[in-house]
Point group: C2
Chain length 408, copies 2
């Protein structure tokens, strides 16, 4: 992509009420645009990063046999009355049509997926089933804040699992946990598997918390087990639930994913049953597995940045290479650009002619692609370009003929 | 994908109030699930087809320099007041939060994209700009009907173009028209470029209408020019607007896309201007370009089916090959399945053991993949499989060693 064609521009400033680092840097870099409190547009650079995150999650969900669907935002009130959440869920957006029929704007999809699965599951032979989607969801947050960390409209991956019994759920729950840890590894986010309140249906639920000062949560980390406990249950559990260790470290953190054993909480109200081997009706056992790819995007910026801008991990960078031409080097830059693209490398090419070298460098730092290449008359004298990695200080000259080898 | 793992099943019947062919066949095949009137979930098979349609559109939008973004569903009331559509748009869903602030659920995004572009466009050098997205949109349809053809929540591709003057808009409008015709060709839908009412801002808008009895529109087709006129303006235009031909053929049709010269209809209320070469402020000229991928999906079924089921064009088929094993041939089927997948061919493998051959054949016809392969003890005696194309009557035996050659 040529920067001269990109419709967004970097900005020196964004609104001061955007206090969080992710809102500041993503706004300045032209990744997102704030439409109102808690509601953002994803601009070309931001959407590119978002889609890479989404794809990593999708690959891991497919590996644990998830089947992707797309369920609607508009959800019938009747379904929400059945689970009693129409009245008790405080942050549910409600909308009505001309005939005053009411709908919920989906903040989650148990009320849709449970009756959906009921249409296809009859026997134990039809189980287990794993269904997931990526969807924009809605929550009437009183205080939308911290950029992408707490919004009213947000992207969510939600997977729902359906089982014959608790044991099958427990096994899948472990698999999902491992898949989540793989996702965080690929995103280069260090996430703690965190014990949290389980509600009335199981002892614990589990969150995946990433340590950052921008987070609203507080967790107590057991350095030995690499697990944590959410503050909300810390009074009951002043020791590591896995090893009994009392030496816990308290940190602020942000919840990027959570997994939950729902058991029969939703299958019961929707009468989702199956015939077991003896032909007897049994209630289906459920689990749910949420992951916030947009929140992950914001968290990535909170964790990976310096005073000059974002430092994207390669797995989610909008482009691998940020190529800059200085002075009269545009046509040589163009050649290098085409060559890299032909070799399947994603390049953001700053081909702007009227922009100063200084501005180009600071834009590259702000946007944060992993590798910066600079072509100038000076580097061309040595048949070279300047090569610098975003997270390192030193730059070096490399031969033009060797660029592909270096950036691959 | 193995059919034994797919959580959906084909159904003999779907609700009789689903009168349209697309709702019937997509419902029976397990492509979609109706959640309420005008609101559907996309199940794994349906989402696969939807994504192929989306990708074809995306490729063509990128080729005409579209830059993809993702704008929100929740839209501030103030923006809609500015264009006066808050009060006059009859089918706008409105939602309010706890403090009684009101929002629109986006049925279209002029009210978001125009102020967004204003943040980045200052000079004539920043133009033209082309921005598009895929988004679930909302329209309070009084009579949701005809399956995916008229829904309350629907997927939409909307592109917006921004220009310095009418001439630039006109040129891009032609390019977009050609891109649309290419999309329809790739989807194997015969679409007529149709003259329709232009509102107050231009003489005509243009629709892309596909002939089908399920359509709600009526167009008069000029066979010579391959263009059409929408019934809504036929009284003014009883002849072909391109050649003057009076011999027009009237057909029922469905509007799958439309393009519109907005001129300054939205740029004016949002004061979207640019400095021209003389440093004078000028109003930006806009166009918009809608395409309904979900409606295209429904239309495809209306156009491509027979009494036994859907006949997907290869470009959007959920799988290219539907592989069936009969009797004791499962392990040979498995080998063929793996071999095809290794060769990059998408295969739906009906490996179900307890299902009759007849049921497997009728499921294959209903689901409608382009090529059906049958492995049975009888075909294996001749080292062969039975090969049949969905849109042809004859089946033939082909050697197992030659399968890849045949299906590639």
């Amino acid at each position: 992509m040529k920067l001269s064609k990109l419709f967004t521009k970097t900005k020196r400033e964004v609104s001061k009420d955007e206090e969080s680092i992710n809102a500041q840097l993503l706004g300045k870099g032209g990744f997102i645009n704030k439409e109102m409190a808690g509601v953002y547009s994803y601009l070309p650079l931001g959407l590119k990063v978002y889609k890479k995150i989404e794809n990593i999650i999708r690959e891991e969900m497919n590996l644990i046999d998830g089947q992707e669907v797309f369920m609607p935002t508009l959800q019938p009130k009747e379904n929400w009355l059945k689970t009693n959440r129409w009245n008790i869920m405080d942050d549910l957006y409600k909308v009505s049509d001309k005939s005053d029929r009411e709908f919920a704007l989906g903040p989650t999809h148990e009320e849709i997926v449970t009756p959906l699965v009921k249409k296809f599951v009859n026997s134990y032979k039809d189980l287990p089933v794993y269904i997931y989607q990526f969807q924009n969801k809605f929550r009437m947050e009183l205080r939308a804040k911290s950029g992408l960390l707490r919004t009213r409209e947000f992207m969510m991956k939600d997977l729902y699992s359906f089982h014959t019994d608790d044991k099958d759920l427990d096994e899948y729950y472990e698999k999902a946990k491992e898949a989540y840890l793989k996702i965080f590894k690929r995103l280069e986010l260090e996430a703690y598997f965190t014990y949290a309140s389980g509600g009335t249906f199981s002892k614990y639920s589990h969150e995946f918390q990433v340590v950052t000062e921008a987070g609203e949560d507080e967790i107590s980390i057991c350095k030995k087990c690499k697990v944590a406990i959410n503050k909300e249950i810390i009074n009951e559990h002043k020791v590591c639930p896995e090893c009994g260790n009392k030496d816990l470290v308290v940190k602020k953190s942000i919840e990027v994913g959570n997994i939950f054993k729902l058991k029969d909480k939703y299958s019961k109200p929707f009468d989702l049953t199956f015939k077991d081997k003896d032909g007897k009706d049994q209630v289906v056992i459920m689990g749910c597995y949420g992951f916030g790819p947009a929140r992950a995007l914001g968290t990535l910026v909170e964790v990976h940045h310096d005073e000059n801008g974002i430092i994207w991990p390669e797995s989610v960078a909008p482009f691998k290479v940020h190529l800059i031409t200085i002075g009269g080097a545009t046509s040589d830059g163009e050649k290098i650009y085409k060559d890299l693209v032909k070799n399947g490398i994603e390049v953001l090419f700053d081909d702007r002619e009227v922009v100063s070298a200084g501005q180009k460098f600071s834009d590259a730092d702000l946007i944060g692609c992993p590798i910066r290449l600079v072509v100038s008359e000076k580097t061309l004298e040595k048949d070279s370009v300047e090569y610098k990695e975003r997270n390192k200080k030193e730059a070096k000259l490399i031969k033009i003929s060797e660029i592909t080898k270096f950036v691959k």
